[in-house]
Symmetry: C2
Subunit: 354 residues, 2 copies
Amino acid sequence: MSPARPDSASVAAPAARGTHATIHDVARVAGVSVASVSRVFNGRDHVRAEMRARVEQAAAQLGYVPHAGARSLSMARTGAMGVVLPDLHGEFFSELLRGMDREASRRGLGLLLTVLHDGRGLDTLAALRGQVDGLMVMAPELDPAILARHMPRGLASVFLACIPQDGSPSLRIDNRAGAAAAVAHLAAGGAKRIVHISGPAGNLDALERRAGAEAAAAAAGVALTVIEGDFHEGSGAAVGESVAAGTLEADAIFAANDMMAIGALMALKRHGVAVPGQVAIVGFDDIPLSRLVSPALTSVAIDIAAMGARAVAQLAARITAAREGFLESTSTGADETIVPHLMVRETTRETDRG
Amino acid sequence: MSPARPDSASVAAPAARGTHATIHDVARVAGVSVASVSRVFNGRDHVRAEMRARVEQAAAQLGYVPHAGARSLSMARTGAMGVVLPDLHGEFFSELLRGMDREASRRGLGLLLTVLHDGRGLDTLAALRGQVDGLMVMAPELDPAILARHMPRGLASVFLACIPQDGSPSLRIDNRAGAAAAVAHLAAGGAKRIVHISGPAGNLDALERRAGAEAAAAAAGVALTVIEGDFHEGSGAAVGESVAAGTLEADAIFAANDMMAIGALMALKRHGVAVPGQVAIVGFDDIPLSRLVSPALTSVAIDIAAMGARAVAQLAARITAAREGFLESTSTGADETIVPHLMVRETTRETDRG
DNA sequence: GCGGTTTCTGTAAGCGGTTACAAGCCCGTG
DNA sequence: CACGGGCTTGTAACCGCTTACAGAAACCGC
């Protein structure tokens, strides 16, 4: 019983049609044990040069690639992070993912995307166990209690722009400060009657932005009327129509996001209302589109991509902490607050060409 | 030796700190075998109501969730699809993912995102084996041979807008037809000297669009000058500058994508060149932004989200085909061609208000 | 030429599920 | 009351890989 040698007969069918070669096939072809093959591939342990060569040759010949699933099962590590997002549109979505990807791929991690279509999808969260090492969750519309109930236990997680659960760290946007800066800027520019187009009622960001706007308006002694929007262009356009028609009196509009601001802007333009001459406008998010509309939109800027990258970094830290055994540690991982800044453009500033 | 009964002593520590309960823990607590627990959770086999109740109760008590990795190992099915994309920006990216997600989540599948940063990332493709059931690959910039070399063998795949490998089906945009329609439209509007801002040299879409434009220009008997761009706003702006300065003579511009068209549009506007009065502009892709700039951009429209959804559907079909054993079948899965259509807006049409 | 290291390599026990197979149960019949 | 057959359930063998442990081999100084 000599150790298995490369024997042309037994090597005949290393893998069935379409099936992949396994580590055993490689071991058999190379005439070594599976442990050695594993060692060669993970390169931590000592392996003689000749053995390494034999294994690599066999692996190449068979087109062997380790099976990520099996590996993650025995190592308790998947190499992927879950991203849980609401049903986002457009630039915010892509910028966030872009930032996450930048940081994740730097660390050799994958990103598993899960979109919550207004609540549905929540039950798939639990199924992520064993498929990802941690979760980045953004669910500003969701009742924190419901969210908590659906979070898979024991999976490291980071929350974006929503209330953190069970001591997980979170990344928060200082919506109040951003909104306050916007309103203060409008007031400083001479606005007396500001209309705030808010986000949907249940949305946390929306609530905070509204609060910030109200505080700043009170401080500056200007009137603020709040109209609820839905973060989409249409609701902004509706407000623009009302203002143009005179139904709604306003010399400035502060929208809770850029799409609504742009909707309002387009509606006003369509009706020949001068922006910023008669009505000044400020948005929130500073999506790339903002500087392309004309007049270019003044907006509260958040570095969305950077936020995504930070989320990955935080989660990575939290995952390794958990692996080291500090998981129950009282240092829950620092929350981070991202402070937005005002990007002044043409909708709040008379330009040479109006 | 009765079968293990729920015994408070042995049940003491179902899971260590932070660790998940396994199917064995559930079996022990419920006093049944692991097979039964598995049956209850997969619900295919007959299980008595009382057993079901016992297991469900135990699972709930332990907060048990099946481990996706382990399950995929024994079932040879992961429930996720890999998405391989170039380093895309903006709306195209988000629309595509949006469409893919819509279809994937309808089928209960996840999306694992891998971005190719100009070539790097290719080696991670092979590592996807065992992590996804199939791959959707979009790599218009990549040499097909290099791509082929890096594709994990035996993994079902669908190619988007690039040359298919090994008989995998692909989804292609009829770039030629779209570009031809754009140029024909410009010629019909009276253009005599058209400038085409192409995409980068190695890009397949870019080449096809250029070819379509050239063919249509020849057919219509109008002059076409090609200037190479990079799909970003800046290169479009550069052309706009040249045209405004008179360095480049043109009464119409056809850009290979919308961002370059918008760049050109902004540059022309900045210099007071009338659009479409002096220069008409057509873009390609019809990203949401196109209708928001002013004048609104005429563009060749592709339903990007629909394309993403189709890719998922095709891949799903191919995966089940492979599972049924038709993997070597000569019917390689039908290629699909998506025919774009022209969306005429203000940059090629005098409007009431110019 | 022998014990003690040091450096490789193989064996086998998991990781957490699924599932073929066999065994046990319960029932209606002849 | 023995018997065949339909439901349920348990046992154990995988899925493909990592890794603790132990055995083998090579090298050391004496």
